[in-house]
Amino acid sequence: MDFLRSPESIDIAVTGRCNLKCAYCSHFTSEGDVEDLPADEWCRFFEELERRGVGHVCFQGGEPFFRDDFPGLVRCASARGIRFSILSNGTLISDELAAFISSTGSCDSVQVSIDGSIPTTHESFRGRGTFRRALDGLMTLLTHGVPASVRVTIHKRNVEDLENIAALLLEEIGLPGFSTNSASHFGLCRKNADQVQLTVEERSLAMRTLIKLKERYGDRISASAGPLAEAMTWSEMESAMRRGERTLACGGYLTGCGGPMQSLAVRADGVIVPCLQLPHMELGRINKDDLIDVWRNSSELNRLRRRVEIPLRSFAFCRDCDYVDYCTGNCPAAAHTIERDAWRPSPDACYRLFKQSGGELPDLPPTLIIAKAKGDQLEYSLDQIYFYLTRGCNLHCRHCWIEPQFQTGARTYPSLDFDLFVSVLDQAQALGLSGVKLTGGEPLIHPRIDNILDEIQRRELGLTIETNGVACTADLARRIRACKDASVSVSLDGADAETHEWMRGVAGSFEAAITGVRNLVDAGFKPQIIMTVCRQNKHDIESLVRLAEALGAGSVKFNLVQPTARGQKMHDGGEALSVEELVSLGRWVEVELSLSTTLELFFDHPAAFRPLSRLFGPAGSGCYRCGIFGILGVLGDGSYALCGIGETVPELVFGHAAHDRLEDVWRNSPVLNELRKGLPAKLEGVCGRCLMKHLCLGACVASNYQRGGRLWSAYWYCEEALASGLFPKTRLST
């Protein structure tokens, strides 16, 4: 099952108490009404979060600011490097508190609840005097530069005030945006449902108004639940049905919640639960049970995760529904409160029930439909697949970051099944695929490499190959050349056999690689030569450039030894160069050596270390940017993964080509979606402070995760450079 190694974020109810008693509060009179835990218990828990690499918490309540010692808790979390957000009613936020939150530098957002444009509507369920105080709280946060946001909960008394609320928040106050939901089925709201919850007519009105506002304000109005989210989702279901699509991604199963794959929650009394809306589902207790053990091994949590495998057709309620293959079964917590069973679909957001009750879905304006389609295309176009074709390799390089098995003539290891390769291409082209990269292991030893190249040529896909060159015969070189826009990189780690073979581990591999390069040149290529620089070959750099010139190469790229798999051993053994040496070498290659050759030279350290003239100038080598938003890896065993890192980091494997649809993996992998939402804004450490982060995207997310245990961990090279005082100060924001 596809979930993260540790939770990305923890929702923390720091208190069950509140200074208000809103009629639609989701907490009071629920199983979550419990005694508050003392501050020292929370601080001990934050120590565990730091150890476990959990970098974000969301403080909520009750009302977090109701606790006098709340700033102490925030200070405790912040001191542990944990970023935080806060959900608040805004009424207790003083100038001093806002200044304090701002000073931590760790606050991602404070969400304030504003439910009206005037006191009458806001206070109808929140109590007298709360409107002015909430607005003051919001403005105080903004004054201190705290990233503040607003959530509007839609109910009977404000459904006709939505246009004015939008004008207040977006035009008068000038917020970048706000989100909406509606009074639901939790806590006090169940008791007061008749007074607060929208009727089907009011729900239809809210949808019409919100769609109109969305047309006017675009992405400044958002929702993940409630009338706006429902209008958008249900319109997409109708649209898919009209287009004749048999299903939507994730449709037909109980996939309506991805929370258990990404996050956990803790009640005010320290009990760990999957979500604060499922407070009865006790998984363990903080400071008593190991958080990661709960995360990975809790049978109840894993059962909740397996909810996504339950087909909607197994429920009599859904079986005959026209929309069953488009629906996701909605929120498990709502299913629990209404049906007393979280492993059922929730009738709350059921489109068929809405229609049967006389609900009317507004027509989505064409601009919104087009914007959605364009957004999908832009954000999720699968441009390129990296095929790690073989699990074995004919060399045994001491720096390899994937660590394949050494394959000789006598012993072979599995390689990607050809039929699976074809099936992946079939599915990927429908998602926008324009090219493939073949790598390994060693791609040219795949037993059906001829068929693979024919298939790529027939489909007119662009082709990139990374090879050690040893198996590159004249015939293979010609076949590769016949493919569209083909380019080939060959690894040479020294200008002579002794140095190259020290690195590559196999006698005779130098001459074989040189022959391979010559075959490529004879076929019409100007191949790229790649050298991984280390202590053993650093004096060979200039000689290698001369060799590349003599062979007819087009460029030379110098890679770093990555501290992953076998590369880690080189770092541990002092065979890799220090960051100080690499910074100096990089400067020399970019500024001096590049002037002595007509070949293009690339030194693969992060953009922050590259001269602007080389990145953007006319004589430069351009700015390489990892295509992580448009790339997916396929490993030799047929697994889908972020890239080759999936060979050593199982949580970066997203499924298998034999039994998972590529579209589902591409659109719904929690890791991929986290990256799309968070990169580069969530990058941490020096990467979060770097002015080049929009270009660099953290250099290598795979390496960062493998080293730091988080998708947002900083790149090792930059962290070490910063610690050594070598990070260019001109490239830092703070």
Binding site: P611, G617, L691, T730, R731, T734
Partner: protein
């Protein structure tokens, strides 16, 4: 080239020069950085509220070789871009 007054840099924006004569303009309010090539740096240093666009162009021609004929158009576009990003503006006289 139009006569639009004398451009001046936003005093909060910091010019960070690098070893190859390129530079980064850093806006501490937005925490954004913008790369400048050596000609951009040359122009930036003359956005002091005392030089008009015409004077900056003349200065550029006297300091640089092979200045293209349409450099004035590029100069105006560059300054417009800086103004649009809030990195520069024009002195105004209160009446």
């Amino acid at each position: 080239m139009s006569h639009r007054g004398k451009p001046i840099v936003n005093p909060q924006v910091i010019l960070r020069e690098e070893f190859d004569d390129w530079a980064i303009l850093f806006d501490p309010v937005s925490c954004m950085g913008y790369g400048l090539n050596p000609v951009g740096v040359f122009i930036w240093k003359r956005l002091d509220g005392r030089h008009s666009e015409e004077e900056i162009l003349l200065d550029l021609k006297s300091h640089c070789e092979n200045v293209p004929g349409d450099a004035g158009i590029h100069l105006v576009e560059f300054i417009d871009d800086l103004v649009r990003r809030g990195l520069a503006g024009y002195e105004v006289t209160l009446t």
